[in-house]
Amino acid sequence: MSDTSKNKQSLFADETIDGQIATLNLGPTHPATHGIFQNVLTVDGEKILSSVQTVGYIHRAFEKLAERRPYNQITPITDRLNYCSSPINNMGWEMTMEKLIGVQVPKKVDYMRVIIMELARVADHLVCNSVIGVDTGALTGFTYMFQQRELIYELYEEVCGARLTTNIGRIGGFERDFSPAFHVKLKKFLKEFNKHFQEFDDLLLRNRIFMDRTIGAGPISGERALDYGFTGPNLRAAGVDYDVRVMTPYSSYEDFDFIIPVGTQGDTYDRFCVRQEEIRQSMKIIEQAYNNMPEGSYFSPDVPEFYLPTKADVYTKMEALIYHFKIVMGETPVPVGEVYHAVEGGNGELGFHLISDGGRTPYRLQFRRPCFIYYQAYPEMITGQTISDAVLTLSSLNVIAGELDA
């Protein structure tokens, strides 16, 4: 060994580079991990030999918190799971409650929910895909796509007043009908989005550099992905066409015509392509839902014990005041029962397992968090890959720390 390599040796704990082993911390606070994850990598030069993950840095005990919260106060907790697509979490929870109390919401509510949920999916996938671009060194697409995401957030604002942690909708429907400004903004968005999106698509999809960087990075086979419990776009990229929206339709998804894109290799490029196509399909669903919006009410009148009455009614009507009080104080009786309800979240099957003993709060509420379940495959996916591929794999899996740690 030469003198130079001996000098290098002092920088590392055990051995030096040049075909020898070193330990590297990727995270917990590293800009490339896009969240608080620690990976202790054992690397041979650029090549990863093994990795050990540590999770739980932002664990906030949501499942325990939920056991002390009245049912309608749990919706804000769900915001903070996958915060890139909060509306899907909110509505998944509301639908779980509606299943428990046995209420059929009007068709119009279903369609309104579909519009909001698909907008959320588009926003979620836009973040993921444009960040894959950033991690390969293509910042431009990211800046343009974040403008589109901003438009989606403006649409949320028109419906619920919030942007990131939306707390959108209520058990039994929506807090108010879509405003005139929402209609204007949505029409404009539907008309103009595809053009901008196509630009982004052209930037990356057949870009030689992008393809060289992403094809073969972090692959997983379909069987292995199923064994690990993958769901959502990551599973579909591996070639398995499982989508909750089709398998167990909720919120009238059976009314819409859309396809489920699947990949073949399960690598970063396939995950990118699947998400790109899902964005197009989501736009198609939004268009169908918006154009065929049924007449009717934006909330179900059958659940006054859960659906907060309007302020005007609270001040003028006795019943509304009573219900308002009962809802706010969390004194509404609920049936004893056990429900599992799943929705197709941004990252896969987002499930709610609720055990109710009839009390004011859930007896037990468990979230099926897709990120938590598929992130355990990460060491297997990056073993034998380079460090830069590991970063790409992480961003293409779209692991969201809030959902992972709950």
Partner: protein, 168 residues
């Protein structure tokens, strides 16, 4: 997709496992089977390979604590899904709180790894045969299982509490 009904699934499981199936119900249409704790692993393994049911996807592992149910305090739930038949199934086993031991299913589904660690972390269920049954979301030095019912969060309806001590 076939039209496999819950009755057919139940009949097939009962035929194979007989008395080990302690109880069954269908809350909100989801077939729930209570199985003898030591047969859980066998049932889940058999479900995966059975050529009719093909229940080969593990959706979720979780637990719940029922402190008043003596000898059956910890309930371990396995949500399974037959993607071919599109039938969901919940398998559960009850364990006594003194010895909350159940066989790990990590050899059947690799995805059970973290979910079993999480269940151990929060409820103290010991999954026998798990290669690395350590805490996952909580810190390692924690010496209790926080999701058990004896650990209360602050009760919003309490009146015996002096707010001055809580900075309000």
């Amino acid at each position: 997709m076939s039209n496999l009904t819950n009755e057919a699934v139940l009949a097939r499981i009962q035929e194979k496992f007989g008395d080990a199936v302690r109880n069954h119900e269908e809350p909100y249409g989801l077939l729930t089977i209570e199985i003898q704790a030591d047969k859980t692993h066998d049932l889940i393994a058999w479900l995966k390979t059975d050529e009719v049911l093909k229940v080969s996807f593990l959706t979720l592992i979780g637990a719940a604590h029922f402190p008043n149910d003596k000898g059956r305090e910890i309930c371990v739930n396995y949500h399974l899904h037959s993607l071919v038949n599109n039938v969901r199934l919940r398998v559960r086993a009850f364990l006594p709180i003194e010895t909350p031991n159940i066989q790990s299913i990590i050899d059947i589904y690799i995805g059970a790894d973290w979910q079993e660690r999480e269940t151990y972390d929060f409820f103290g269920v010991i999954f026998e045969g798990h290669p690395n049954l350590t805490r996952i979301l909580n810190e390692d030095s924690m010496d209790y299982f926080p999701m058990r019912k004896e650990y209360h969060l602050e009760d919003a309806t309490r009146e015996d509490k002096d707010d001055r001590y809580f900075g309000r």
